[in-house]
């Protein structure tokens, strides 16, 4: 059984068909890339997967469970975490707390424990803090744990967003342009980091990216989307040589 199974997914915004008949299956442990020109509907697919938009038609099945109709926080609790194209951290609170918020559904203590700071609260908080620091250490952010998130440089903010997503303990990680705005050296480091994180946390990854320097070395498979539909899918090398893909990216005249 695939970890994630998307069947003929589609959504309308007013009269606009933003995504149409989108199919995708992802096996546990895969890294799959979704590529395509701007406005092709990639982020819209992510928004449906994470529960922001309700699909107009089609189904999303995750670990054998139908996900349609779940709210984003419920999707997260089922084990799908994501990052955003335009970074969305909690800017005014510490790096550590940004990660600890990811533990919220599994904090292991209730509101009364919180208000009274009971022994259970104290024990669990210590554990959560430890786990958060571990995640931060993995992403090279432990020494920044006590500063505010908006004090981090851009690249570190991207990593913090991934750290926060890992705190959700996801099976599936959705990354929306993790290398946006990075130079080739930084992209290289992001490739290494993603590989490392994927192994360490036993993840399956679905990512959207424009930077071929990230997509090519890291993805097991690619799906190309244009005008809300899948126009090609296959191994990275196959996709690179596919004329339809070139056409979608460069426009019809360039190929003809």
């Amino acid at each position: 059984m695939p970890l994630l199974e998307i069947k003929s997914l589609g959504i309308n915004f007013g009269g606009l068909r933003a995504v149409n008949n989108f199919d995708l299956e992802i096996e546990t442990g895969e890294i799959v890339g979704v590529i395509g020109p701007n406005g092709a509907g990639k982020t819209t697919i992510f928004n449906m997967l994470s529960g922001y938009y309700a699909p107009t038609d089609g189904t999303i099945t995750f670990k054998g469970k139908l996900m349609n109709g779940l709210r984003p926080f419920q999707v997260a609790q089922q084990g799908i975490a994501r990052t955003f194209q335009n970074i969305r951290l909690f800017p005014q609170i510490s790096v550590l707390d940004n990660v600890r918020i990811g533990f919220h559904p599994r904090a292991g203590y209730n509101l009364v424990d919180s208000i009274l700071h009971t022994p259970r609260f104290i024990a669990r908080e210590a554990e959560l803090t430890d786990q958060a620091l571990d995640i931060l250490a993995t992403l090279g952010l432990e020494d920044k744990a006590y500063i505010k998130a908006n004090g981090l440089p851009y690249g570190a903010q991207r990593r913090l967003e991934i750290a926060r997503a890992l705190a959700v303990k996801p099976d599936l990680l959705l990354l929306d342009e993790p290398a946006a705005g990075m130079n080739p050296a930084e992209v290289g480091r992001m490739v290494d980091l993603l590989r490392f994180v994927k192994e360490k946390f036993d993840l399956t990854v679905l990512l959207i990216e424009h930077q071929m320097g990230l997509v090519m070395p890291i993805c097991d498979r690619l799906v190309v989307v244009d005008f809300g539909e899948v126009i090609a899918s296959g191994l990275p090398q196959e996709i690179r040589d596919n004329p339809k893909v070139l056409e979608a990216y460069l426009g019809r005249s360039a190929v003809a």
Binding site: F13, T43, N47, Y52
Partner: protein, 294 residues
């Protein structure tokens, strides 16, 4: 039936006064996304200035009206300059608190003995006491004056916004400050102008209010201003026809509640309707609900 029509006429009178005040709230909200709490107090300043215009200075009332509008325009512009402009790019709540401060300032300052004074003033409207009875429904000259003045100024406002360069600038700035700047619009000037127009309208509302409900004191602007503001929200804040629509509804709701339910419940019913409308249409009757972009 006749009494019902009479209530509609009374509701229209109140609604039209609310409409001119609501316009100022909605224009300011449209352009700087601020709930201008001091706007109701500008309205109060208009009511007093008009009153002193046709009593102390003995101006004919149309001139007193113009004078009140001019004074309010100046008060509104100064208010923005001093209390809001320094906070334009701070968190919106800071400007809101400053607006509350400005509101207190206008109330307390005008209630000083050498300004308008702390007492109630009873007005004798400077218009002949004429009442027509049409099919049993009483229509007063004050109502005719209110209707005429408001309609004329609404038409002028419409012309200003859609047919002049300044109006185009206002629409651009309300869309996006940076884009407006790039297009060569003087954003500061446009905002000042918006305050001037909105405040002048409030001043007009104040003078007309004085004719219709002839009892003034310097804290008059709090409740009337709030009602007008609620009307703007009801119609869809930031949208000019929405302010007028909301105000007319608000006027009817209040008068009808007072007439047929209980005059004590008029505020509660008005606010209950507001909450229900917001729950069904979170951006007001004519407001657009936009999907948040992620």
């Amino acid at each position: 039936m006749i009494s019902f029509i009479q209530q509609i006429v009374n509701g229209l009178q109140l609604g039209l006064v609310y409409a001119v005040i609501a316009l100022g709230y909605t224009m300011v909200y449209g352009i700087i996304k601020l709930i201008n709490f001091a706007h109701g107090d500008v309205f109060m300043v208009g009511a007093f200035t008009g009153y002193f215009g046709y009593t102390l200075i003995k101006l004919p009332w149309p001139l007193a009206l113009v004078m009140a509008m001019a004074v309010c325009a100046i008060v509104g512009v100064l208010n923005e300059r001093i209390a809001y402009r320094p906070l334009r790019y701070a968190a919106p709540i800071a400007a809101l608190i400053s607006a509350i401060g400005a509101s207190f300032f206008l109330e307390y300052f005008t209630s000083l003995k050498f300004v308008f004074g702390p007492d109630y003033i009873v007005i004798h409207p400077p218009v002949p006491d004429i009442t027509w009875i049409i099919g049993g429904v009483r229509i007063t000259i004050v109502q005719v004056i209110i209707l005429g003045t408001v309609v004329v100024f609404l038409a002028l406002l419409q012309l200003l916004i859609f047919k002049t360069k300044m109006g185009a600038a206002m629409r651009t700035v309300s869309f996006n400050h940076d884009a407006a700047r790039l297009m060569g619009v003087d954003v500061d000037k446009t905002i000042s102008f918006t305050f001037a127009v909105g405040s002048a309208l409030a001043g007009m509302g104040g003078v007309l209010f004085g004719f219709a409900y002839p009892e003034l004191w310097t804290f008059l602007g709090i409740m009337t201003g709030l009602k007008a503001f609620i009307a703007a929200v009801l119609g869809g804040i930031g949208i000019i026809p929405g302010a007028v629509l909301g105000a007319l509804i608000m006027g009817q709701v209040e008068i009808m509640t007072a007439a047929y339910i209980s005059s004590q419940a008029r505020d509660a019913v008005a606010f209950a309707i507001l909450i229900i409308v917001l729950l069904i249409r979170p951006s007001g009757i004519l407001g657009r609900n936009e999907l948040e972009k992620i």
